[in-house]
Amino acid sequence: MEAVSAAQIIFIVVALLTVATTFLVVTVRNLIHAALWLVATLFGIAVIFVLLDAGFMATVQIVLYIGAIAILIVFAVMLTRRVMQDVGPQSNENWWLGTIVAAVFFAAISTLLWSIRWPALPGAVVGDTVLALGRSLVDPNQYVIPFEVASVMLIIALIGSITLALPGKQSE
């Protein structure tokens, strides 16, 4: 048993913090607080990405998830502000069923994961990640079609959300 390295300490601390913030996201009553805890969780996952030698993905995680998605959620919370003062029960009557389902799911997955013995970690570091990632998105033999589908999907999402959110013409 080798001595505990810095990476391991960081992992344990960040993992515990991330689990804690995740738990807060789904439990706190105030929606703005939930959204801020979500930002903290997303940041924790970005740190974990760095530990996993995926620095570029960590950057994308921060820019895209925290910078765009989480902020959009905060906007949505603010646009629907009155709901934040809701005092009624925050969980539905079947909350125990949901918890049981999730607990069973977690027990099944974690026993499964612990049963797997991974081979010794390969030291294979994949060179310049950004270059390789970019190349494989436009390489005809690799990820061209997912890339194209994803971009068309973003157009659809754009059109769709405008269609939904635009005030109706009934007022004329």
């Binding site: 499964l112 994961l113 390489d139 033999n141 061209v144 079609i145 999907m153 059109i159 769709g160």
Partner: protein
């Protein structure tokens, strides 16, 4: 590493339709608000051109985009189902949107995009493409379901569909992650190779199960069906008719391709799960449909039951030589269900218009006297959904049950036949109400709707009496694929 690996020529119909949809978005900007049906006609011509383009070249066997897409008889035939449902739904939408005062140009491009997503889904040979295509077809559907913003239940059902859809696709992504972890691959061929070497690990099976959650949700199989009745009822009826056929067919296309190619050697592991889906969906769908008084909810539970029958056809897919037979049965069943179901929904739309709140089965009283043609067509559709001759639905059920029998699932066929008998009760009740009871109110049907009802009724009848040629086409296109 050349551009020819993309095989752009082979995917031209697909590229054409997506370009048409993007173009239509722009053109729509110059179409004045009171003439949005022009956008509809342009969408219709895009669908029609692609339909004839695809049908002119059914027998292709090609790959595109570095092996991530397959262009073959299976995908081409399903493209015809998607495009056909797109054509019929657009025809219905031309009048429906105007009458409900929700006519907006974005409706048609969103429908085109959804069909493009379905087409990609049926061609996908990589789990990541399946996932993206599923999202590409779902996102427009979320918007279309909520399109009737004058009615609160439309938006609510859209939110319900969206949240549960996103929830199930999260399971699907996690499943794909686990499959990737178990096989180091996401391409069907590579997964198949890895599975052949290492066999079924618990990690892989867990991944397959989670992935199936996402797909079973889309086809509304029990126990992932809770959204179906509310969404089918709340969505604009044209959208319901479209998604109950298109989205279901696309989901089954992906299930067939994944399980028949990537996980073919694991049939002993997945067949029991598929059998479970089949039994639960047919039994619960049909039993729950009996007590419905709204025809929309009844058709929703009927669509759950029909998903079960398609699962019956998928079960034999794991038995080596039977895969082609099973795939043909799936295609034939989906085509029959598609034609009949869109026909039935167009009758629902017609009656809905006449009576305002006309989605109750009692509103169909005396339809035979008020509008004999519509009632005759609806009778035909109900017979076909039940699976009685002389309709296409009968041939399709016969085909499905024959495939299951060939694989030795006699008890499953018995369950199937019993549930068909149960379903006869509520389908035939509609016929009885139409012909025996008396009611009033004039049904006015626009020409496009009459055309849709006429085409689907004629096809249901003709293909029920003479299924031979279509069956031959389906079987020859699919032969040797799986």
């Amino acid at each position: 590493m050349t551009i020819s690996n993309l095989n752009l020529v082979g995917t031209l119909p697909l590229l054409f339709l997506s370009a048409w949809a993007c173009g239509l978005l722009l053109v729509d900007l110059w179409i004045p608000g009171d003439r949005k049906h022009m956008t509809g006609w342009m969408a219709l011509s895009g669908f029609a051109i692609t339909f004839f383009w695809v049908s002119s070249n059914l027998g292709q066997r090609e790959e595109a985009f570095g092996g991530m897409l397959a262009i073959d008889g299976f995908s081409n035939l399903l493209h015809l189902v998607f495009l056909g449902s797109g054509i019929l739904a657009t025809l219905l939408a031309l009048n429906y949107l105007k009458q409900h005062d929700i006519e907006r140009g974005e409706f048609y491009p969103l429908m085109l995009f959804s069909v493009v997503g379905m087409m990609i889904m049926s061609m996908a040979k990589d789990l990541i493409v399946v996932f993206l295509a599923l999202e590409m077809l779902s996102i427009p559907l979320y918007v279309l379901v909520g399109f009737a913003r004058t009615r609160a239940d439309s938006e609510e059902s859209a939110l319900k569909y969206f949240l549960l859809g996103a929830f199930s696709s999260a399971f699907q992504v996690y499943g794909i992650a686990l499959i990737y972890g178990a096989t180091q691959a996401t391409g069907f061929a590579a997964i198949g190779d890895a599975v052949a070497i290492s066999g079924a690990s618990p990690l892989l099976l867990a991944g397959i199960g989670l992935m199936l959650v996402g797909l079973a949700f889309k086809v509304s199989a029990v126990p992932l069906h809770m959204w179906t009745p509310d969404v089918y009822q709340g969505a604009p009826s044209v959208v319901t008719g479209f998604m109950s056929v298109g989205a279901k067919a696309a989901g089954f296309a992906a299930i067939v391709r994944i399980f028949f190619s990537a996980f073919h050697s694991l049939a002993a592991d997945w067949a029991p799960v598929i059998v479970l889906f089949a039994v639960l969906s047919t039994v619960i769908g049909n039993v729950a449909a009996i007590s419905q008084t709204s025809i929309k909810r009844m058709l929703a539970f009927s669509s759950i039951a029909h998903a079960g029958y398609v699962f019956v056809a998928i079960v034999p897919g794991g038995y080596g030589a039977l895969s082609d037979f099973a795939a043909s049965a799936v295609i034939f069943y989906l085509a029959a269900y598609g034609l009949t179901n869109i026909g039935a929904w167009s009758v629902v739309i017609a009656v809905d218009h006449a009576d305002g709140m006309g989605s109750d089965i009692s509103n169909y009283a005396g339809l035979a006297r008020r509008s004999p043609g519509l009632a005759a067509a609806m009778t035909l559709f109900m017979l076909s959904l039940t699976g009685l001759p002389p309709t296409m639905g009968f041939v399709a059920k016969f085909y499905v049950f024959r495939a299951a029998l060939a694989a030795g699932y006699t008890w499953l066929v018995v369950v199937g036949v019993v549930t068909v008998l149960i379903s006869a009760y509520y389908y035939l009740r509609v016929i009885v109400v139409m012909w025996m009871n008396s009611g009033d109110g004039q049904v006015v049907t626009p020409r496009a709707l009459n055309f849709t009802v006429g085409v689907t009724a004629a096809a249901t009848l003709v293909l029920g009496l003479l299924p031979g040629p279509l069956m031959a086409i389906v079987e020859s296109s699919v032969r040797g694929l799986f």
